[in-house]
Symmetry: C3
């Protein structure tokens, strides 16, 4: 009997799906699920420099009619989105677009989030035969089968996925999206609640009356990302290796920007929401919808993130005289060294690079009713 | 219609107050507030290498008459102090002195801390026309308007703040501090509680009887700080940009020590308390007062922090024969490379630099009653 | 009176025990104890990329008959082991071997772990007169003196400890281990519970039927460690300075690999368990025993960890037709640069280095009963 005879048989499993694995209307019920612990809540709510009292101050949240501290929308998105990564985008080159991300029931510490995804479309790349765009619709529910079961978010996204076998023959397809009932839950307005007594806990100048269409707010604070992103990505169960496997990058550094790990896009997404919070977010009772959003450049450890918000439009909210809807566009930026280049919007020797953009509608309190 | 006509109007908000914004007796009710989650508790209690069973072991804490795990004083300080940063010191050059920091009710997971600050004084710098010293008194309460409402800490501090407009004309002023009732809450002594059965969970040689005035304890452990401080500072809602915005520093590196971010002072403050814990803290039932304290050199990522405690004095505690008051001075240190310099207290090629000092009184258990 | 007369007397305490401090049969009741917070749970469960629904999804855990989220065995080990470091291995050169680590009652958030250790043996090194091997047996209990008191883990280990005084005369000894009742608690099987409805939440191909003796699974994911390990080690109360005191290493860099801090072994231990989870762990109801394990090379910040599992054997579990016992060997690896060396199992310019190995038996669900 040779030595070989006793060597174990080697198994190398593929993880995630490749382009040829997606079928029209196919539904993935994602593995895992995730209970929101206070550890997760703290890590993500607060890394982003969120200033929203609903996410910081349980007394305030209860006075407003919530059960306790409320997960900010960035955290709901991070948890729900990450559940879909293994099935949808573990073998992706890039996430191209977020579409119609809507929020429903509030998420509290202790809630368990589970997500399913329907495959809506596939379109082969004309220029790159090993790639195609997959279009999916995902829905996140909380506390399935329990009293508080509810939809907490639903969204579509388009993602560029690699083939496993470059010679595989694949057909384009497109099926209609499902109609998902997902409307932002809001506590009823109670004029007797004396919420004005808590008005000092949020910004004094970010009410509905303050946000003027045609203005752009350059949020004052920046935040440097460190390699903390590796741990944060793992905490989210996001299994994509470009975020956490430096050895893979070292083997082939030219294929990756600067030979460095890339920060998971959900992290600058959430950080931009946080940086904008004192100026446009902390008097919102919730985020209604993100109609479209995308990453326009990668983020890496060492970069400092800044944000700006354009106020696009505002309107009454039907049935809620205490609130109004504000349409905004949120931008994320970083600055990179660029010796010899001159630019209006960066100091000499630097170039301003947009990394993110998101069309975002918020349900914002009126000063007339709350302060 | 020109292109300019459709460009949005740019808004750049100032954040925080500048020297000319402070008025005698003015009161800031700080934004946000903060509920202590188990995530926050873990991050800060344990990063500091605290060994205190009241902060680690809920069984021990309950046996002593507390409701559960007790936030160590460093965490109470970090949370409460950070709430004041935007209003008081976002535009500060340096925090000069902590004065009469007193602790009151114990803080538990789930408690919500809110803080207000009264402006006591302002004194212009004689040598630097763009700076002045602001003197404030802050008080932190928990669970306002609820059954367990209580003061958890009160303190004064002096901080060097920049003018926004260097030509602004400002008058010095000084108003009296408020009398704040803030006495350390201590569980009653119960000789029947058999607490000696838990004595193995704390150090055997840090009782009142062990701490001898005229001695200095060099605490044996050191802890290297990493760029984790950026995330920790964000978690605390401390908005000062010198702690988290590397781009700002890269634009003007000579203005900052080594062109590096500076660690928020509350972090070495808490870390020194933690490093001292096995030798002087883990048989204290609480910290009574920090009469004065200051940072004497900055800390940066990569530095290793050490601590030492001088026992200054000890005395009986009125009404509590089971406890005594121990007055100490806590020091923080780091070592920096210094080729060619010789020194008694550092190895060759290194210099010992004091970074922190705090006059600290503790209420310490007597072995006679607890072991 | 000279200046010296008023200088304080300096006290430098020794921490931990040295070789000459260990006596046959001596029992240490370790200081501190540790309550599992949601912060601790999140930090360690999720850093390791664990995919086990029992540790992620409270709805799933409750449906299986647990009280809530279940601490994975790696976290139980990390917390329990770390409690023993000050007394057993603060002055150790290396941890040589883990022996017969058994798990008992499940550990939940809110449980308080306390640990005691019995000294079983001591054997002087024949080649290095300043070292010897200490053999100990540790047992971790939860909620001592309360309703749910139970043993959660017990194990032996051998550790190489330094003498304090090289000239000390020490005798070898060996005493018998205690018989510790520690059997893995498992929820009863309930055919009515419709657990198959939750089968999509765990891997579809890691049931008892799937795990074939004689195979070896190369787990697909890697995870780069950063200097986060310093903070993680502090959170665990592991007080060994080689993990967190860079200054100590800078004073004598040649004595330490690469002049760098060494990652606490419990961290790659847990990370390897996590990396293996989707392929061999997430359909186990528990880990029964780790008969032997050891670290075979150090891990440092910047290294990327990979894992593989050999399936050694499988057998029925007496009294549980729904489960079977699978014996495995878990390996951890990293790759280091090695220009000019050729090897079958690493790309050119790299060498594969085994860092860890653990003989591990799991109680694994049968597909026939659960899916």
């Amino acid at each position: 009997m040779s030595d070989d005879a006793v060597s174990p048989r080697i198994i190398r499993k593929k993880t995630g799906h490749f382009l040829e694995d997606f079928a029209p209307g196919q539904v993935f019920r994602h593995k895992g699920g995730k209970t929101i612990t206070e550890g997760l809540f703290t890590t993500f709510t607060e890394f982003a420099m969120t200033t929203h009292p609903l996410a910081k101050n349980a007394r305030y949240a209860r006075a407003y009619g919530f059960e306790g501290l409320v997960c900010p929308p960035g955290l709901v998105m991070l948890v729900a989105f990450s559940q879909t990564v293994e099935d949808v985008s573990e073998n992706a080159r890039a996430n191209l677009e977020y579409i119609d991300m809507k929020f429903g029931a509030p998420v509290y510490v202790g809630d368990t989030i589970e997500v399913e995804t329907k495959v809506l479309g596939l379109r082969l790349s004309s220029s790159r035969p090993n790639l195609g765009i997959v279009h999916v619709q995902s829905t996140a529910r909380k506390n399935i089968g329990e009293a508080g079961e509810a939809i907490v978010a639903t969204w579509q996204r388009k993602v560029q996925v690699y083939k496993s076998d470059e010679t595989a023959s694949i057909e384009n397809f497109e099926v209609p999206a499902d109609e998902i009932e997902c409307e932002l839950w809001l506590p009823a307005y109670d004029a007797q609640a004396k919420l004005a007594e808590l008005a000092h806990l949020s910004s004094g100048d970010s009410y509905f009356e303050d946000l003027e269409p045609g203005t752009r707010i350059e949020h004052s604070r920046g935040r440097t990302m460190t390699d903390e992103h590796i741990s944060m990505t793992a905490i989210l169960d996001n299994t994509s290796q470009v975020h956490c496997n430096q050895y893979m990058i070292d083997l082939n550094p030219k294929q990756y920007v600067g030979g460095q790990l890339i920060v998971f896009g959900g992290i600058p997404f959430t950080l931009c929401l946080g940086l904008s919070c004192p100026d446009v977010g902390d008097n919102a009772l919730g985020d209604v919808i993100y109609t479209t959003g995308k990453h326009t450049a990668p983020l890496q450890a060492g970069d400092t993130v800044f944000a700006a918000t354009e106020i696009l439009d505002k309107r009454d909210m039907p049935g809620r005289e205490d609130l109004g809807i504000v349409s905004t566009r949120l931008f994320g930026y970083k600055f990179v060294r660029a010796e010899g280049e001159a630019s209006d919007d960066a100091p000499e020797g630097w170039k301003k690079v947009q990394i993110f953009e998101l069309d975002r509608q918020l349900a914002v309190k009126r000063r007339s009713h709350y302060a």
